[in-house]
């Protein structure tokens, strides 16, 4: 029997090692897998490369991971925000490396990894600092930059419901990077608010097929921190 359920977040992240690359879903706090990140912080791993849209908000989740000094490098589109003080401090102190990627290129490069493409020519960023030194090409009169896939050892994402085969559905804009990160990581770990029996999810409405998800951990909403 295929059963991807883990009993708790700590067990689900227990094999994430020093130096691992970890995608973290979420856009702001929506879709941020806070409990999985807390479990990762509890493991005291070092030199993690994080791929995420932001660099942490407030004092929890990714922000806490940064605050605890676990992140060597972050690949993201929008690190600086009103409440990104832990990243700001670490960055100014030279303790964290930043690879800034336009948000759509971040998504497209994650998708390219998930889909097995070797590289893509994207128009975004052409002629800007963020394309400095990169290969470019004019195709049909339009200018493109060659960008490479972004893969990761792990993806930590948050969904609404899942079943033991790993099928997932999401909640509103908390979907964001979850489905594409699930496709691009060797091991995708999803925290879900509720586990449902096999067959309970309408096969027409599954957003992430279980083939892209290796582990699920049910963390009921009542137990989860408020997203606000």
């Amino acid at each position: 029997m295929i059963d991807k359920q883990f009993t708790d977040a700590h067990a689900a992240v227990a094999d994430i090692q020093d130096g691992a690359s970890v995608m973290i879903g979420g856009f702001g706090t929506a879709g941020m897998p806070d409990e999985l990140i807390d479990a990762l912080i509890a493991r005291d791993v070092r030199d993690v490369t994080v791929i995420s849209n932001n660099a942490g908000n407030g004092d929890t989740g990714l922000a806490a991971l940064v605050r605890e000094g676990r992140v060597r490098k972050i690949v993201c589109s929008f690190p600086r925000q009103a409440d990104s003080h832990h990243f700001d401090t670490a960055f100014r102190a030279g303790k964290i490396e930043l690879e800034l990627v336009p948000q759509g290129n971040l998504a497209a490069r994650i998708q390219a990894a998930g889909a097995g493409l070797g590289a893509i020519f994207t128009p975004t960023g052409y002629g800007t600092l963020l394309a400095d030194g990169k290969e470019t090409r004019t195709i049909d009169g339009r200018n493109y930059v060659l960008e490479y896939p972004i893969r990761a050892d792990f993806a930590l994402i948050k969904a609404l419901r899942g079943d033991r085969w790993g099928n997932l559905v999401f909640s509103k804009t908390a979907r964001n990077f979850g489905p594409i990160m699930a496709m691009a990581a060797t091991t995708t770990i999803a925290q879900i608010a509720e586990t449902v029996p096999l067959g309970a999810l309408d096969p027409e409405t599954v957003v992430t097929p279980g083939i892209f998800v290796q582990r699920i951990v049910a963390i009921p909403r009542a137990a989860a921190r408020s997203a606000a």
């Binding site: 929506a30 589109s77 929008f78 600086r80 052409y126 800007t128 804009t173």
Partner: protein
């Protein structure tokens, strides 16, 4: 000199958004445009974080923090709206499916180059978000900004000095003093605010602006 305030600027932009348009409003000033869309037009707002058919802010206390916009503000979804992942969201932009995006700017050049993500300051922490995708992806990119900096320098320039967001991507600039068309043929005054002349704008920008308007 007469100047539009920010709400008036937003209302002016809103007037140029046609029925049926798919529109992305950048974070900051452009967000205000949503408040002035004509009630008799169906206009669909896209938010980069995966929703189409964005509705107004919820009543206080009704916020759902899993239903937010690109500025991380709580929003609502109109009947007929839908959710999708980030890959599809940026395919909408980069693939040319968004009719209009409205962005703020530090500078726009007379050719339509845009600078709006980075001051280039040595100690600034850069953040780009979806600005570069939006700037080059939408069918039309509008900029909404005050024409002058607080120091009185024109933000419509011959060539941007700040780091670029995109090349030749802006077609129109809505400012507190007038509306400009920019592009391969340079900058042209399309409209001036009451009491402002084309020559005033030429003086303020120090640019040889074209115009079809009476001087």
């Amino acid at each position: 000199m007469n100047r539009l305030d920010r709400d008036q600027m937003a209302a002016r932009v809103a007037r140029d958004i046609p029925e049926g348009a798919y529109v992305n409003l950048g974070i900051g000033l452009p967000t205000k445009v949503a408040n002035f869309l004509p009630a008799d037009r169906e206009i669909l707002l896209q938010s980069e974080n995966g929703l189409l058919g964005m509705g107004p802010a919820p009543a206080p206390g009704e916020e759902d923090w899993e239903l937010i916009n690109a500025g991380k503000q709580a929003v609502t979804l109109l009947p007929g709206g839908c959710y999708f992942h980030h890959g599809d969201s940026f395919a909408m932009m980069r693939g040319g499916h968004i009719d209009i995006c409205v962005l703020g700017a530090f500078q726009v050049s007379v050719k339509g180059d845009l600078a709006n993500w980075h001051t280039g300051g040595a100690d600034a922490i850069p953040a780009v978000g979806g600005a570069m995708d939006l700037a080059i992806g939408a069918k039309q990119t509008f900029v909404m900004m005050e024409l002058l900096t607080r120091q009185g320098q024109s933000k419509l320039v011959e060539a941007c000095t700040y780091p670029l967001t995109g090349i030749g991507c802006v077609s129109r600039i809505y400012t507190d003093l007038g509306v400009f068309a920019v592009g391969p043929d340079g900058a042209r005054v399309v409209e001036t605010v009451d009491g402002v002349s084309v020559d005033d704008l030429r003086t303020l920008t120090a640019l040889p602006l074209g115009s079809a308007l009476a001087v």
